[in-house]
């Protein structure tokens, strides 16, 4: 099983990068939800390639066609399916690579897993392109969340060694700021880092190489009481989805790995009543989640994005058909850094994960 996820909101994804179309079916959307399609297209454009010099020049329109589940702009309650046709595929670019295993790509594990029958053209079903339907779904989930006062935002925590400030460093993060982040190529708290980051990416590109980075995602407006102890903890729910996104190799909540260096007296987030009588914590080292359940502070996590495996530089590898060593120079149109394009995908799966959780109820009724 690989293409289906969810309990209360269930998604089923499909498609190969060089097949006929990719798409998604969403089950469990409440009937009567008005879908702002412009917002959906806006979110999808954030992920789409070819927007600027930092990404692959390959242009895909990522225009979803809705097949079911929507009537007069509102959800019907029946499964909502959207597809995106694959139009700009150059299969020839990839045809020689069936037997030469690209390092860092799913070529070899996928070949074993699917006994060589998997679609090898442009990574096939393993392609990052399959995240476009996730962004589609996430955009709808965000609209539902907005009605509940919940907002998902994200910024680039780092590209290579260059670090932005953290969410925890901010006095306040406004909805306006989150909106403006979505307009930016590199959403940053400290915009002075932008040039440095861009230079790093362009430099890698010119070397025929690539760079990675870290995305920090945060959720505002989430009440206390969502989630569960053990298997269905909020962390389990979100981490499961985040690791479903290609290229993610780590996730940490709140202070994350640094909390392991703290003492308990420092790590514990002390409660207090604020001036409105709201229960808050002075620090948020637990990233909004304790015992698998939200406590009313922002949910915050960082995800590590590896540098794209498709690089022009010559690499050593193997030819599995010939059973011997091979050299490889991957031609084609590649992203020198996918962090800015992964960011909206992470927002999307976060929205999906939270909506699924919230539809299960804050507490049993």
């Amino acid at each position: 099983m690989s293409g289906i996820w969810g309990k209360n909101v269930q998604v089923s994804i499909f498609g190969e990068s060089h097949g006929v179309a990719i798409g998604i079916t969403i089950n469990g959307l409440p009937p009567g939800l008005e879908v702002d399609m412009e917002q959906v297209l806006f979110e999808m454009a954030r992920r789409a390639p070819g927007r600027n010099e930092l990404t692959t020049p390959r242009k895909e329109k990522d225009q979803p066609e809705i097949l079911s589940g929507l009537l007069d702009g509102k959800t019907t309650g029946a499964p909502l399916t959207a597809i995106i046709w694959n139009t700009n595929t150059r299969s020839k670019d990839y045809s020689l690579l069936k037997n030469v295993m690209r390092p860092g790509q799913a070529d070899y594990p996928g070949r074993v897993r699917y006994k060589g029958h998997n679609d090898h053209r442009g990574s096939g079903h393993f392609s990052g392109r399959i995240t476009a339907p996730l962004v589609f779904a996430g955009a709808i989930c965000k609209q539902w969340l907005a009605q509940k006062g919940v907002t998902v935002g994200a910024h680039i925590q780092s590209i290579g060694m260059i670090e932005d400030e953290s969410f925890a460093d901010q006095k306040e993060v406004t909805l306006e700021q989150i909106r403006s982040f979505k307009e930016q190529q590199l959403p940053l708290f400290n915009v002075e880092k932008e040039t440095e980051m861009k230079d790093l990416i362009v430099e890698a590109k010119e070397d025929g190489d690539s760079v990675g980075g870290v995305v920090e995602t945060f959720v505002l407006g989430l009440d206390a009481g969502y989630g569960n102890p053990f298997f269905d903890s909020v962390e389990s729910q979100l981490a499961h989805l985040v690791f479903a996104v290609p290229a993610i190799k780590g996730i940490e909540f709140g202070t994350g790995f640094d909390i392991a260096k703290m003492r308990g007296s420092e790590a514990n987030d002390e409660y207090y009543y604020d001036e409105h009588g709201q229960i808050k914590t002075r620090s948020n080292n637990n990233g909004g989640i304790i015992g698998g359940i939200t406590y009313g502070m922002p949910v915050v996590f960082r995800a590590a994005v590896k540098p794209p495996a498709s690089i022009k530089k010559k690499q050593q590898t193997i030819n599995v058909e010939e059973g011997k060593a091979a050299e490889l120079e991957v031609e084609g149109r590649h992203d020198p850094c996918i962090v800015p394009r992964v960011l909206p995908v992470l927002e999307a799966v976060t929205a999906l994960g939270l909506m699924d959780l919230m539809m299960g109820g804050q507490h049993h009724e």
Copy 2:
């Protein structure tokens, strides 16, 4: 839903730390599996409290009683249920804490989630004690994995700021070494760090405080071809379970967050044929998993364990019944550091996650 997990091997956990008993039901164990109960008890003893000066002096025997699913030492194929009676519970220690929310504990989110009906005695169902049944299940899974040539091991990567060497630093890790790790209080590659780590723990204890750390888990002998792209990636599967373990705040696979600082040419794990014609990679930055699927190298991940929230030091918090600020000094028998006790739990859920995955087939038949 919180107590049930799994697809091919399904577990259902239950119990509260100060209730009658805790336990687990395991579905899907293959019939005829011989269960070495000594090995099971050995694994459970590794997690049990009271073993030495580094843990809580509270002694619980963690003796499982098997109710079903085992006949003449072999699994029957029917659900296997084991319970552990709660014997050494001092409810009085906790009775005053119903309304004063302990920072860093699930008291407050649990209270909201369960409308105040949750068992508040000794953290109730949120207690780390509920991981004992997971270790029981993991011990059985390990025996099944052993038959397939798969071994799960772990060492302490760090306590506070004190670091052990990493798995990636080792030329070779033998099964003998893994076995010896299981005998040790603080399993380390570099045993010279042991005294330093112990001192740090004892020091925190004397201060009425606590310390955290990082556990590195590794899996040897796992073939290429297990796992799936997207939602059922090996990373999703393992991260889901690892975040089901109380106190975990981060997970990273392979080089993890550091891969975000690399260039693609450095991060990509180049393939080669070894002298036996086996396909291997020169580095293992992806931690044995690409595209959600294993590629035959060790699966490696690190998990961040926060310092125990129960400390003697005075803390500021709130009394939710009175609706005002409160001071708190938690009495009772607490662990100054739970890293050594969390380690076998992480091994256990890893074994469970892998067995579930492997029973689904390396590739569809």
Copy 3:
């Protein structure tokens, strides 16, 4: 997988008839639900053996011990586990039967399925005794349903050829009537059939034989709008659970198989507004469910219960160890008719199925 069922209320059953104990874990019960334990014991006694001359003289107390999930008589929201110890087991009765396959029992299919490792003593995990935990769970679900105004009742539609009137024949069925049904050995609309039915059962018993029958279950007070089209139809939900009860070979909703003989103009249930403005249908041929969804009329279904396979009469069968024909006379204490004992089990799984459905929401919020 066999022991776990449910989405919003999940149950996990375990145990073998001659093992240590049988039991159940219930996940998803809302916190704070007051459990009337007398009612639970009353329901369990209805299913228990040895109550009268119509059932096996084997006496099992079916006394549940609650291990978790209940505090001061209320659910905590954590998994609720109850076990029933096996005390009155005479393993000797069954020891010779390991290799001689009893016709109509699960001996042979179970042996193949579990490669001979299944517990063969007294049907092991296949025993009808494992339905006792289901009655326990159903009794709690009924208490939740009662709060929502929903009542589950059942009567014996037939024993052998002797038929009771049907639910559809009644002008009205009151809650009082349903309560009185629960007190009766053979709950019937037409009590004049009782003697005839009893005689039939006793006659079969004296012949060393057994008889089957049909149970009709009905649900009052269920609003319109529960259920789903296709896979999660109310019929799918209930039929799935009903066929989980041993000995059931058929289920039909509303007019059932007889609707296949009708014309559409006769079968269609015409809507009208009653004197209170409530939407009702003049007939109820669809048994309260159309398009997989309730429409506010009683949900009604009948289930066929086969005659118990364990009979004293000599039977022809095979000895699988010797690979040849064998004769069999099953000694021991058997039920000549299990219809009266299956009836509360059917009520129980109906309550469970409905609560699971209702907790998912009448319509998405």
Copy 4:
């Protein structure tokens, strides 16, 4: 949740009868399965409308377009999605019916369930048309089953009061016979009943009315040892899917409701070794399943199909917008009897249910 089903083979259906397209995604198909598309189209044509005078004159081509998961005629192992465009939709026929609830249709329960937002045109997502994708999936499953020696067949057991012979009455049913059944408008063991049945259907049509019937499905070549006790019994698995098919109101396995009238000595299926040393039973009253598990004899069940609710005859009902009684004469192109078109759908879900079961393993390995 309503559109997703399955564990090892998972399907996700979508679409509304008058929307853009309907379709299905199949997860878990083994990679490398050659799909004979002619066979798929043949099966789909069996269900399609407009084939003869017995069905609606509405012609829909039911031509699937495959979007993913198939490469060079073989499954890739990735999700396989197929859609069928809706071309021949006359929305005007249905536009007046938004507020007048058609008896026997899902109009009213669907309206409550989806708060009036469901697509009301031509029954929307409740339409029997959504079974076309199920037949598509079933056709692929049948090809997989054929490789395992398993064949699914069906005949019409009855139309109205007119009965065919039963499967149990046949000495032998050959694969040739099953193939010929698929070619026939009304597949029957006793072909002499064909004219009588046709006359009955045509007569109902001329009266502006409709008739129901019963379909008997049988599975040949299924080994002993598939299935599970309790929740995942073969009966639960198949009944769940069969009740997902619109218009089904009952299901019975083997002798079904008639077994309830038998004595145990008659109902028990006695085992014997046949001349090849194969274990068989002399009767098959249990329909191939005991204890939820197959025993190597044919799996046999009958399903009751209600008469189509859409009839021309005048009916009494309500107008929910006006809140008062209304009269209704449903215009449009309707089937006087859907039994022949439901038959291939029942075969399809049976194939799907069995493949899902068989991929889980005959017994745990």
